[in-house]
């Protein structure tokens, strides 16, 4: 029964992605296309956090650091070394992933609040490094608080739609893999009882590192895309803790450690914010806060998480 549902959901997901690929041909409004791109963008970003924290239970308070690294790598690669966007994008992901590998080795041995504090501190430290590096070493690299202006792309929103869609597709596909692989079972075992998992033969450090690095790789890609889209970055903007908060809330709302949680959470929150923000400029944040509180009170495991428990489903 569960196997059947898995397959059906996968087919629906592939079908929706395939249909989305043709969307720019039918959507005439650039704004609507931007809105859809933003929704897909946040599905991907929330998915990155879910990939690590949702499945392992390790609460990462600093994922924005890899987003910021991706933004800076693409900006420096394009403006300083004249590398075109797509190779720069790939380099951004690789460097974000590599930094996560180096940082993950010591920090993933920490547990609970200590891991959360370490990741948060690392993100803040990177922001300060980007701010102070040039002045300290008398170079022009991160350009401190002046920020970096990227080349104006001149592309319309469909270009960025096609940049974001495949990356988010891969993030969601990675969730499917986690749900159906030994690696994923290992992550879930870590969340349930790490010591027991270790005794049972799960290489917990390698599993956690795998999830952490993959999440950072994708976040680096998202950071690079946004930097090229917005055309200007500063440390305060790209390492903004608000981004972390947003991805955490989206995932919690949708359902932590679930396949569809980030998809539902990011879509719901982005669209509701868009809809209320246009009508109630002064009060919409209070209204959104209220909606989140009510949703969490009614569905403490998130929308998908609660559905999963209620319907006794193994996967969604």
């Amino acid at each position: 029964m569960n196997f059947k549902i898995d397959r059906i959901i996968l087919i629906i997901f592939l079908g929706i992605t395939a249909a989305l690929a043709f969307l720019p041909n039918f959507v005439e409004s650039e704004y609507l296309l931007r809105l859809i791109t933003v929704v897909i963008f946040w599905i991907g970003i929330a998915g990155c956090w879910n990939m690590m924290s949702g499945y392992t239970g390790y609460i990462d308070f600093g994922p924005v650091v890899y987003f910021g690294i991706g933004s800076y790598v693409v900006a420096i690669a394009m403006t300083k070394y004249g590398i075109p966007f797509f190779p720069s994008l790939f380099i951004s992901g690789l460097i974000s992933g590599s930094v996560a590998f180096l940082v993950g080795i010591p920090t993933l041995r920490l547990k609970g609040a200590y891991f959360a504090i370490a990741t948060f501190a690392f993100a803040e430290a990177m922001k300060q490094i980007a701010l102070e590096f040039d002045r300290t070493f008398s170079v022009s690299f991160f350009q401190g608080s002046d920020g970096i202006t990227l080349p104006i792309s001149g592309h319309d929103n469909s270009f960025f739609f096609y940049c974001v869609l495949p990356v988010t597709f891969l993030v969601v596909l990675a969730h499917y893999y986690i749900e159906h692989s030994k690696f994923g079972y290992g992550l879930k075992a870590i969340k349930e009882a790490e010591t027991a998992a270790e005794i049972s033969g799960v290489n917990t450090t390698a599993n956690k590192l795998g999830a952490y690095v993959s999440s950072a790789f994708f976040l680096g890609l998202f950071g690079a895309i946004e930097a090229y889209w917005i055309t200007y970055i500063t440390p305060s903007d790209v390492f903004n803790v608000q981004k972390t908060v947003q991805m955490v809330i989206m995932t919690l709302l949708g359902g932590m450690g679930t396949f569809l949680g980030p998809v539902v959470g990011a879509t719901f929150l982005t669209l509701i914010s868009e809809s209320l923000g246009a009508r109630f400029v002064e009060y919409y944040l209070i209204m959104i806060g209220g909606i989140i509180i009510v949703a969490i009170l009614i569905m403490p495991n998130g929308i998908i998480g609660s559905l999963k428990i209620r319907k006794k489903l193994r996967f969604i």
Binding site: Y31, L32, R34, L35, L131, S145, Y232, V281
Partner: protein, 407 residues
């Protein structure tokens, strides 16, 4: 009888229908002007000031019959101080709300994100709340700023020292490490060099710095003649409090931003005296123009409407709206605007000179306001007084700074 009633109902319905039609027509004839501005987040407070300025402009224009007979309708969206959201909302205003024109919000990062969108759709975008030099270095034709470039805004605060005796020889420059304040520090440095003042200390610190005493003690030990601070309101207030605590009294202290905000004097009271600040506008400047009349008239109107005095950022924002309005009147345009009309507006904004309550506005090829002289003000007896340039000065600068122990 029934027929009569039926006829009456029909007439009433027809009247309602026609009234609704006229109302719709009237609505369609309004100037729809969109603003993506920070109303929450880090710049929420500053963005709200800009919103107030535009609101007052809208109310004033509408009470005078609108622009070329059409009333102004403003559409505000909150960008949450997030540049990506600013870009999205700017596109929403243009594509979805189909606004005729745009006005800029607050913050350089926000305007960096909004301006490429405005450029793409060929919408002029005038801001009164962003002055980062880099905004003007991208070759954009549709971006304009009524403020001067950040590095130039502080010129008056340093040039004034050529008018005092004894002339200061050394300066310490400190500032918060964010875009606007660090550029202000660069400006301080540039004009110190031009005025032959040696910079003996230069330091940027995190915006979230808590311990100002240690920082300023380090500066105090170097005994600079003047202290120049790249600041926002909170930084300026914390600096003065720390200076008093450690008894640091250089010959002068000047800030890039903060002391002109009424809260500075309200909170610090007598401790705010002798402080010099960069400004672009004060109500006692001898400026006047259409819409608001004199600078002081604008200030009085502001006090009446919002129960507080306007800051120069608010004046700059309203000044930008007035400049755009004058172009619409000059070209005799009516809503809705076509793309060709917006191109004409952009060209006129580059070409024309505007005399307004905010002073002269003349946009250069890069969109920066070139006609506006930077001003230095000093707080004397808990009141802001213009002290530089001398032709506009309403008081003589109090120099040197009165030591804390003698106050």
């Amino acid at each position: 009888m029934v027929l009569k009633s039926f006829r009456s109902i029909l007439i009433v319905m027809l009247v309602c229908f026609l009234s609704a039609g006229f109302a719709c027509a009237a609505q369609k004839a309004a100037w729809k002007i969109g603003v993506a501005v920070s109303l929450t987040g880090v710049f929420g407070k500053d963005g709200s000031l800009v919103k107030d300025a535009y609101t007052l402009w809208q109310e004033t224009v509408n009470s005078n019959g609108g622009i070329n007979g059409a009333p102004v309708e403003l559409i505000f969206y909150d960008d949450k101080s997030d540049p990506a959201t600013t870009a999205k909302l700017t596109e929403q205003l243009i594509v979805s709300d189909k606004v005729d024109l745009l006005l800029g919000g607050f913050g350089s990062s926000q305007l960096f994100a909004a301006s490429p969108v405005a450029e793409k759709y060929q919408y002029p975008l005038i801001s009164g709340g962003a002055s980062s030099n880099k905004l003007f270095e991208r070759g954009f034709k549709y971006y304009f700023s009524t403020l001067g470039k950040a590095t130039e805004e502080v010129r008056g605060c340093v040039d004034i020292f050529s008018e005092v005796t004894p002339k200061p020889k050394t300066a310490a420059i400190i500032g918060a490490d964010i875009l606007f304040t660090s550029l202000a520090c660069d400006g301080f440095k540039k004009y110190c060099q031009k005025n032959g003042i040696e910079v003996i200390h230069f330091e940027l610190f995190p915006m979230a710095l808590q311990d100002y005493n240690s920082l300023l003690m380090k500066v105090k030990n170097k005994k600079p003649d003047v202290l120049l601070v790249g600041s926002h309101l909170l930084v300026a207030m914390k600096t003065i409090k720390a200076m008093k605590e450690i008894d640091f009294s250089p010959k002068a202290v000047a800030f890039s931003y903060g002391p002109t905000v009424p809260k500075f004097v309200e909170d610090l009271k007598g401790d705010s005296n002798y402080v010099i600040a960069a400004s672009e506008w004060t109500p006692n400047m001898p400026y006047s123009g259409k819409v608001f009349g004199k600078a002081d008239d604008f200030s009085q109107l502001y006090i009446k409407r919002f129960n507080r005095r306007p800051d120069y950022v608010e004046a700059a924002a309203a000044g930008g709206a007035v400049a755009q309005q004058e172009v619409l009147e000059e070209l005799g345009l009516k809503p809705p605007l076509s793309k060709e009309n917006r191109i004409k507006i952009m060209e006129a904004l580059h070409k024309d000179k505007f005399e307004t309550f905010y002073g002269k506005i003349q946009f250069g090829a890069d969109g920066a306001n070139e006609a506006h002289p930077p001003v230095a003000v000093q707080i004397q007896s808990e009141k802001l007084e213009n002290v530089f340039p001398l032709e506009y000065a309403e008081a003589k600068i109090l120099y040197p700074f009165k030591p804390w122990k003698e106050r």
